[in-house]
Symmetry: C2
Amino acid sequence: MTGLPIDPPPRLLMGPGPVNADPRVLRAMSAQLVGQYDPVMTGYMTETMALYRAVFRTANEATLLVDGTSRAGIEAALVSLLEPGDRVLVPVFGRFGHLLREIAERCGAEVHVREVPWGTVFTARELEEAVAAVRPKLVAIVHGDTSTTLAQPLDELGAICARHGALLYADVTASLGGNPVEVDAWGVDVATAGLQKCLGGPSGSAPVTLSPAAVAVLDGRRSIEAGLRDDRDEEVLPASRIRSNYLDLAMILDYWGERRLNHHTEATTMLYGARECARILLEEGLDAAVDRHRRHGAAMAAGLRGLGLTLFGDQSVRMANVVGVEIPDGVDGEGVRGTFLRDYGIEIGTSFGPLHGRIWRVGTMGHNARRDAVLTTLVALEDVLRRAGVAVPTGGGVAGALGSYTQEAA
Amino acid sequence: MTGLPIDPPPRLLMGPGPVNADPRVLRAMSAQLVGQYDPVMTGYMTETMALYRAVFRTANEATLLVDGTSRAGIEAALVSLLEPGDRVLVPVFGRFGHLLREIAERCGAEVHVREVPWGTVFTARELEEAVAAVRPKLVAIVHGDTSTTLAQPLDELGAICARHGALLYADVTASLGGNPVEVDAWGVDVATAGLQKCLGGPSGSAPVTLSPAAVAVLDGRRSIEAGLRDDRDEEVLPASRIRSNYLDLAMILDYWGERRLNHHTEATTMLYGARECARILLEEGLDAAVDRHRRHGAAMAAGLRGLGLTLFGDQSVRMANVVGVEIPDGVDGEGVRGTFLRDYGIEIGTSFGPLHGRIWRVGTMGHNARRDAVLTTLVALEDVLRRAGVAVPTGGGVAGALGSYTQEAA
């Protein structure tokens, strides 16, 4: 009646994420709990804040975890910063841009959308023109959107926002740890992420960082749990009250900060995991990890081309950790994915919206950005494609396309 | 620079929760991930829904997990059910009642509060009079409020709500699994919980159940992520749109239900843990687990009385799994807690609001509702109290108060 113990079959997750967790992360998560105000626990929290400052490349004091998936981090940022009627600019180049738009709408903001076709990104000039025209309080944008596999260059957008008095929020869930992300150098005010992509952990914890300017917005809206906090009892104007308690970053900051005011009951096991993800990444070195993603991601793309497949989207701005390939004419995309999972235990991704049925998405990220994972996936895919009737090139093919990669260090 | 591996010192968590996780739960959480639409994963999800139906004692099809702490479950229920201007009745008998009030206010509801002094609960007659006077759409109430250690009897409230056309929401986070909770028999429409109390898991996943009447309210507000879902493109009136995306139970239901529409990336490891918590509880048997909490909780209370301490609140409605004791005059309550943690590795709870500095809270729940944990705590507390200058009774004391408990099965 209660079913069997958890014992999933071995899977190699080579989709757009989630991917396999690094075994070190799962081991860290198996540690026993401590109380949420135990000095050991507050020590882990303080260390985790410092670790994620390094991961985000920021000096932001306000760097912490939200207890939920990457989507919880996004909503925490938007609901905490946006008041009803605030103007927001959302440049959309894929599925997750639409998500930002939708969440901002639910916050009651006045949302202005700019869109480019899926498979392309915005030029800095297009972004500046939009910011100048909309004059938003906040620009909310996705950095790497796995739906199209592309990364919007953000290195000029912070300066553009600063010139026009706007804050910049970036969703770096899919890019962080596998592509360059420079929160301070790029002038990003708020960035949110998750563990399940290049960080090599399970979904369920959202690292978030806020600049002093963003914290000042929170301070302006700072609210209280009247009667629930012992140290404050002033009332707050309902008009500016943050609409969520659970995702109220002002309160969550008070919990992570020196005052350590009670809020939620920290998800200790997820915190253990998030801390270990950052430790693994920083032990390797952020630049080295980005280079590893670049190298294995490029090999995956070259190998897919060697199988005769056509890559999707503007390759000059493709993320290092995921590549889209067009499903060959006459091939049942979902059938191939099913065979791949059943016969090889390997998962690749389907796609959404305008790309549904048109492309597969293949990821090479986190713990799975490794040579053996890349080669296994390519060899297995070659077999499955042949069985699906695809005319895979012979004489050369994958091995030819990969060149010296197969002899390189793993 | 990246700090040491997670390796917390051994702690016995005998506060109001979180408590130590059952090692079986942590082992289940160490399993590797599978993809979120892998048939293995959707199988685990379907099993988890069935397990929590048994835990909540409900036939509700809409029984699932919210990916966040127990507070995320509370907010998901309230933000999904309440529209701005809706009348809500919140009977408050402790800290967490104030939390319900505050979250309902942030949802824009018209909140009506009734309060009784901390240490007491409402009579059924008081509740019925309040419901009749306010005529709310929803009554939102805490079942067991750890701040006062009391449980509000709910066995008549469902019928009262039904007579007056109100829905009933109950926060059963602290009571579920250690006290009788009968969702269907009591007529509770929506109940939410967490893992970190009697369920013996880490915080970070919130089991939720919704009656068909509650689901009908969600259906009336059902919203879309325009452009993000392939199968629907109708627009929805902004007036009734659920104000949160992350905690939108209509969308989360579509993800857990047969349509399996994409929403957040499931927190797979937390789901493994939540599933195992329910399996452990149901293998023991819900009635047996409640009886175990009653037995060890009663022994803890008797032992504390044997130490000369005075119990807090109306003992006739105290929760089985937590007891409040008055801090003896002249004793530094936080000093004793600190010594207790440092010298014995045992944590007991402080308290909030009007009880701050007045009582300690001692929990006996989940994996820690065991004889050895009870006896260890009492023996250690006797030593720490003596060292703090408390005149602990001699000749009898703990052993005398416990009687045959020390000879019973563990």
